[in-house]
């Protein structure tokens, strides 16, 4: 993509790509390189607190957890010998397979809707909101003030038999009996989770769009691109990696959620997280719970790696807005 005439902003990639590349970018990736150099110059000790925190509260528990997953299960206790039985049990259990499928469906649906809705909102906030930007950003942030459970119950009062939607439709004479399919299924879980995670997605994507100057879009228009092409060849390539990261973020939290499915999911909305919670707390089979958790974690890591691989193949993983 050609740089704008003022040279304020350039799109650079680490290697030639289908839409953008060094040739079109003018071949001067100073902005990107300069930032990398700056990053390297930062004192290492600045990262020490975060490193220690992660080691103590993430890596160490994970190591202990990994050990649990290969120990022999007792009732609320573990013992030797080491065994892979927990993994075998977790994989071969037909209930786990059903619940894993439910988790994937809920996670993919929630993340897809969040990106599909969040991206245009972020774009509007960045380029079209004008004086409304701060007010809308505040409202988006304010929507996160309500507690998780309150929002779940709010959706119940919206979607329930006596809820706003059913009452409204009955009052208007459009239906005689309340629609029972609105609640206690996967759809209700997805609706509530989208409500919970959409503000995060909007804020993340808005932050990713902030460095994108108006000039970049103007340059595209000057070169004859219409709105669709502008989105396809300028906005989407730049936003591909942030969108993927936001997708994975929402997918993991949604697929692993075990609270919302219990309140809104009904029998078909039960997820693997509910099973893991039960294995830990009710059944007292810690190795099985740990093994199931690790299998989920493995699935998430694979998903992230696969997405990153695709982005790399499409040269969309290292786009920078050079200044």
């Amino acid at each position: 993509m050609a740089a704008d005439q003022g040279g304020r902003l350039r799109l650079v990639a680490s290697a030639p790509g289908p839409d953008v590349g060094p040739g079109s970018a003018g071949g001067d990736p100073i902005g990107a390189t300069g930032r990398s150099t700056d990053r390297r110059r930062r004192p290492l000790f600045a990262a020490v607190p975060a490193l220690v925190w992660m080691l103590l509260f993430f890596v160490l528990p994970l190591v202990v957890f990994a050990i649990y997953s290969v120990l022999t299960a007792g009732l609320y206790e573990v013992s030797t010998p080491l065994t892979l039985d927990p993994y075998r049990d977790a994989i071969t259990d037909p209930l786990n397979r059903t619940l894993a499928r439910n988790s994937v469906i809920v996670g993919v649906a929630t993340a897809t809707v969040c990106i599909a809705v969040g991206l245009p909102v972020a774009y509007w906030l960045r380029f079209a909101a004008g004086r409304w930007r701060l007010a809308v950003l505040f409202l988006i942030t304010a929507s996160m003030f309500a507690s998780y459970l309150v929002r779940i119950y709010a959706w119940r009062s919206v979607l329930g038999s006596e809820g706003i939607i059913n009452s409204g439709l009955v009052s208007l004479g459009l239906i005689d009996e309340p629609l029972s399919f609105l609640l206690y299924n996967r759809g209700a879980v997805v609706i509530a989770l989208v409500h919970i995670f959409l503000p995060f997605v909007v804020l993340v994507l808005y932050a990713a769009m902030t460095p994108m100057s108006d000039g970049l879009l103007e340059a595209g228009r000057d070169l004859g691109a219409g709105s669709v092409m502008l989105w396809r060849r300028v906005v989407m390539p730049i936003m591909a990696a942030p969108c993927w990261n936001a997708f994975v973020f929402v997918f993991i939290l949604s697929a692993a959620d075990y609270v919302t499915p219990q309140f809104l999911g009904g029998r078909e909305g039960t997820t693997l997280g509910v099973r893991i919670q039960a294995a830990f707390i009710s059944v007292g089979n810690w190795p099985l719970a740990a093994a199931t958790s690790f299998l989920m974690l493995g699935g998430f890591v694979l998903l992230h790696l696969a997405g990153s691989f695709v982005l790399r193949r499409l040269r969309l993983n290292d786009l920078r807005l050079a200044t």
Binding site: L60, V64, L71, Y76, T80, L99, E162, V274, G284
Partner: protein, 431 residues
């Protein structure tokens, strides 16, 4: 009356390693010993440590001071019933009690406030959303939290005995035991008193499970099977209480929960599947199921109890009632107990003793919409609470709705509790 509790062979513990031991050793490992090898090596030589729960339990019993000397407890209360608690007194016990159980079982009632003022005893409450959180938290680091007081549902007695969660109580510090109603003061099936006479719990509240329904939407249902009528499709509530649902299903099928042959589990599962199919989903708690009643999502509950009438009324729905169907049901009783993690057993004993004060026991029943375990408390109940249970003929009620015991933790012959929990997960998910 003492019915020895069946004690099937239980899970082996000699090679077991508690989670807090794992964490302790992991901590040491981080300090330079090398993580995995040490933790794994520890698993094989843990015999001595596995018994430490019992040892600390013993110390909980012996470290207290003799009861009945102070006479300071609850001196500000004014009823005759309260006098009984001053005789036992707090024995000079004071300080904070780390409490782990249901919200409400820490008894926010007037006479308890007076007791706390008189003794200086206070409560640090950790509330649970699920009974299983108690054993999960005690076994997974309760020492650090120093829990002093828990409660247990009688069906969990075998499990808690197996997990060494219950320490012997010092009856000399519980003089109010004398005032209990005969049934609740007995060693009924070993729920609170072991075969050797060791007391592990003090029942303070109980109730009977029934069919709770909205009388505005449906007439009284004389049989549990009435809930299977097609007109109730999607309008029945069911709560995520595996032990309670198993007990109820066994009662309906005239089976014994703790002696359920493995080849008959399919019958129980099939029955519960039928009821579950009438629901839109399994509610995570009784409170949530009450909300579903109030919002009109459901009109009847497969597994409710009389307190839900009041809970619903508090939310504006005054037409909720509970009846006992012809097949019967089961009763539940919660008892205070002191876990081995305690650091203030004296105060915990004083608290338990106070819970048996007639005034406190009556106030607790009114607050919890439950039943009393103390004889003199009956007359102190208000009319509504007193009418919930037939105190003049408890025997008949407890025959129709006996106290249930959970499935054993291990057995070759009978369905075990872990097996049942697995089956319940499948029923919940409709698989």
């Amino acid at each position: 009356m003492n019915h020895p509790m069946p004690r099937p062979s239980l899970w082996p513990t000699t090679a077991g390693l508690t989670r807090r031991e794992i964490m302790r050793r992991a901590g040491l490992t981080v300090m330079g010993l090398g993580a995995a090898p040490s933790i794994l090596a520890a698993c094989g030589d843990d015999d001595d440590d596995a018994g430490s729960g019992n040892t600390s339990g013993g110390s909980a019993e012996t470290s207290g001071t003799p009861a009945g000397t102070s006479g300071t407890a609850a001196t500000t209360a004014t009823t005759a019933g309260t006098t009984a608690s001053t005789e036992g007194g707090a024995g000079g016990a004071t300080g904070a009690i780390n409490y782990l159980s249901w919200e409400g079982y820490d008894l926010p009632v007037e006479s308890i406030e007076a007791f706390k003022s008189a003794t200086g005893i206070s409560i640090n409450a950790s509330y649970i959303a699920n009974h299983d959180e108690i054993q999960a938290k005690i076994t997974a680091g309760g020492d650090a939290a120093g829990y002093d007081l828990i409660t247990y549902y009688q069906g969990y007695k075998p499990l808690y005995t197996e997990l060494d969660i219950l320490t012997p109580l010092d009856e000399s510090k519980l003089p109010n035991l004398e005032g209990m109603l005969p049934f609740w003061g007995s060693a009924e099936q070993g729920f609170w008193i072991d075969d050797d006479g060791t007391r592990t719990g003090v029942p303070f509240t109980w109730g009977s499970i029934g069919l709770t329904y909205n009388s505005e939407e449906t007439p009284e249902l004389p049989s549990w099977y009435d809930l299977l009528d097609p007109s109730f499709k999607g309008r029945v509530g069911m709560v995520d209480d595996p032990a309670g649902n198993l007990a109820l299903a066994c009662k309906i099928l005239s089976l014994k929960t703790n002696e359920l042959p493995k080849d008959q589990m399919a019958d129980v599962v099939e029955l519960l599947e039928q009821f579950a199919a009438q629901t839109k989903g399994v509610a995570p708690s009784f409170g949530d199921m009450t909300s579903q009643l109030v919002s009109g999502e459901i009109v009847a509950c497969f597994h409710g109890w009389a307190a839900m009438n009041s809970f619903a009324a508090a939310e504006g729905l005054t037409t909720v009632k509970t009846n006992l169907p012809s097949e019967g049901s089961h009763s539940f009783c919660d008892a205070y107990a002191i876990p081995p993690t305690t650091t203030n057993p004296d105060a915990a004993h004083a608290w338990i003793n106070q819970s048996l004060d007639p005034t406190t026991n009556a106030e607790a029943a009114i607050y919890l919409v439950g039943a009393v375990t103390v004889a003199d408390a009956v007359e102190q109940l208000d009319e509504a609470t007193k009418a919930l249970y037939p105190y003049e003929d408890l025997e008949t009620l407890l025959e129709q709705a006996p106290l249930a015991i959970n499935a054993p933790t291990e057995s070759d012959e009978f369905v075990t509790f872990p097996e049942w929990l697995d089956a319940w997960q499948q029923i919940k998910a409709g698989v």
